[in-house]
């Protein structure tokens, strides 16, 4: 019997296998940021351990850095402490760090791909659950906790039990105005926030193949929101083309490509589970609740909790509507938005900024809301500025910021106020995620842009 892509990559990275124990997996790339690493470095120091492979490790500042006045000392003392600690740790242990002001600074999952350091067939970890983003290149990439960060620093390996495999087949063609964000929101609504639990998902099918690398990253990014350990997409010409010319593209290119071409699921391989989704039928999707599985097509209405047969789901829906301040039966398109956030490792790449800019170009955002545009990395920001996108957003009345996670998780000053409602291109709509009491609707960049213009949740077709 053949192997799935995930099984192939997994097998290639086993350092040691023993009955009844998790596999000891070799890690090709370890990404680090200021929030989940300080205690790991602390642990190393306490145990008198060193970093085994600084040359397979890279750090950036992203989670709580300010997006305004980035070259002034960070005002928030705790954020400053974390960033300073990261800088000191990287210096002490000889780790490459991209700090504020550096062109490669930005959200860790934007930085790896833009450097060309994220490549097919790799194992990639980071103390951040959206590490699954890198799976778009045909890599096994997953989030780890701080003690695992310490483990990888010390040994460049990680004991891990092999997840089961799930195929999600998305066949067909997306309608105009429908994006990969809508694909993944629809998948999560379909299989639930626990649906992928214990699995590595492989996204397959013609609709996936047709996506650009950036759109593929959006899909893989939110695998974790379906509960999956990781999500990946087999590499193809689109992948190779994207890596080509990037700073860390392999020097022995032909050898690398020959290997990358072996990375696919064999035709006779069997997945533990398969799920099908028809791309032709997809509409722009938005979330109405407080977990990413609580989403519906934009044309729908806020659901009525009483319609849920399952009691757990019903209670969750009731609680979500209460928190979100929504009434069952309200058309989603009538929901008034206070803040539009365009950014994050889900949708903060150049393609996302371009597609949103195209919609707001020459228009003004609604006077009732603010729009924050936060490029995923400093490089994305500079690229956008070179294309004049910053002007497009600023002329429309939006705020153009520096790179970072920003309002995706509200650890820096970019937060929602209590009761404030956002349309956000990020990946999590949990209670308080974007600021205490803040209410989040997850959307695609196109919906974000259209919403900014109309003031209520909208798609470009409504303009």
């Amino acid at each position: 019997m053949g192997k799935t892509l995930a099984e192939k990559i997994w097998a290639e990275h086993i350092v040691r296998q023993a009955e009844g124990e998790p596999d000891l997996l070799y890690i090709d790339l370890h990404l680090i940021h200021e929030v989940t690493s300080p205690q790991a470095f602390d642990g190393l120091r306490l145990a008198n351990r060193r970093v085994r492979r600084a040359d397979l490790t890279i750090a950036t500042e992203d989670h709580n850095v300010p997006t305004l006045d980035i070259l002034k000392p960070i005002a928030d003392p705790v954020s400053k402490l974390q960033v300073d600690t990261l800088r000191a740790n990287c210096k002490e242990f000889g780790i490459r760090l991209h700090s504020l002001g550096d062109i490669e600074q930005g959200v860790v999952h934007v930085v790896g791909p833009q450097l060309g350091i994220t490549q097919p067939g790799m194992t990639i970890v980071c103390g951040d659950s959206h590490t699954s983003t890198h799976g778009a290149f045909g890599a096994i990439a997953f989030g780890i906790g701080t003690s695992e960060v310490e483990h990888v620093l010390a040994t460049q390996t990680l004991p891990s039990s092999r997840p089961k495999t799930m195929a999600i087949n998305v066949e067909g063609t997306l309608k105009p105005g429908v994006t990969s964000k809508d694909i993944i929101l629809a998948i999560i609504a379909k299989i639930g926030t626990g649906g992928g639990q214990g699995y590595i998902i492989e996204y397959r099918g013609s609709a996936i193949r047709a996506l650009s690398m950036e759109s593929r990253m959006t899909v893989c990014n939110m695998s974790i929101e379906a509960g999956a350990r990781a999500g990946l997409i087999a590499p193809d010409e689109t992948t190779f083309e994207y890596i080509k010319g990037k700073p860390h593209a392999p020097e022995n290119w032909d050898e690398a490509v020959a290997y990358w071409k072996s990375l696919y699921t064999d035709s006779d391989a069997v997945f533990d589970v398969e799920v099908d989704l028809n791309a032709d039928e997809l509409e722009p999707f938005v979330t109405w609740g407080t977990n990413p599985g609580q989403g519906l097509p934009l044309n729908a209405k806020v659901p009525n909790p009483a319609d849920y047969a399952d009691t757990t789901e019903r209670t969750a829906a009731e609680r979500a509507l209460e928190y979100m301040g929504l009434t069952a039966g309200t058309p989603l398109k009538e929901i008034v938005i206070d803040t539009v956030f365009l950014g994050s490792c889900t949708n903060g790449r150049i393609e996302d900024l371009r597609s949103a800019a195209e919609i707001v170009k020459g228009k003004k955002i609604a006077s009732t809301l603010r729009m924050l545009v936060v490029p995923g990395s400093a490089r994305v920001r500079l690229e956008a500025e070179a294309e004049g996108l910053d002007k497009v957003f600023i002329d429309a009345g939006a705020e153009w910021r520096n790179a970072g996670c920003s309002m995706c998780l509200g650890m820096n000053p970019d937060q929602l106020a209590v009761g404030e409602r956002s349309a956000s291109t990020s990946n999590r709509n949990f209670e308080g995620r974007q600021g205490k009491g803040g209410r989040t609707h997850l959307v695609s960049p196109l919906v974000a842009a259209a919403t900014a213009l109309r003031g209520t949740l909208s798609s470009p077709a409504d303009l």
Partner: protein
């Protein structure tokens, strides 16, 4: 890491499902650079509510958290485990845990026990009826017992052994340094490196 063989304590009934790590420890508390002191952030948003279970006198000393399904979803932050441990919890019981949270907890010495939802509900009732109900979680026999009742749970042999020995992961792996050296010797040369900077 402290050895975990058997723990006896009282329970805290957390009648909520889908408790994500942003609720267990909100992101604003993650800015610390130490490994301790996270107890003040545990369920911070909910603790503003005087009726929240942890604010009730009778549950103040609980060490066994009995939670609804899908506990620990969301962000991979391990601070969630530390917050629970710093607060004094030794065990969390639920019918379903998010993978990363469960991984983090078992590595950090916080025992997460999976019981069927019906057993969880029975425990909620028992604890609410009598908050001093003594609960014993025995890793040796893989059982949770209270009020004459005993439920067995499953946990893989390896994890159980490690918890019972109080063994730290890194130490275990460093015993395999030879295998790691051998593996590295065979890695293809086209694999990327972060240094030197290009």
């Amino acid at each position: 890491m402290e050895k975990f063989i058997k723990h006896t304590g009282t329970g805290v009934p957390l009648r909520r499902s889908n408790v994500d790590t942003d609720q267990i420890i909100p992101a604003v508390y993650l800015k610390r650079v130490t490994r301790s002191g996270f107890e003040d952030g545990l369920f911070a948003a909910w603790r503003n509510d005087p009726d929240f279970v942890l604010n009730k006198q009778e549950f103040k000393d609980g060490t066994v958290l009995v939670a609804g399904a899908d506990f620990g979803t969301g962000s991979s932050r391990e601070h969630a485990v530390w917050a629970l441990q710093n607060y004094g919890f030794k065990v969390v019981i639920s019918s379903r845990f998010a993978d990363i949270f469960r991984g983090n907890s078992l590595k950090g010495g916080l025992l997460t026990v999976i019981l069927p939802q019906s057993d969880v509900e029975a425990m909620w009732e028992a604890i609410e009826a009598n908050p001093t109900t003594s609960i014993t979680v025995d890793l040796d026999t893989r059982t949770v017992s209270y009020n004459e009742l005993s439920h067995s749970f499953t946990i893989d042999d390896y994890t159980r052994w490690r918890l019972m020995e109080g063994l730290d992961d890194i130490g275990l792996t460093l015993k395999q340094t030879d295998s790691i050296d051998t593996f590295e010797g065979k890695r293809p040369s086209h694999k990327p490196a972060t240094l030197p900077i290009r």
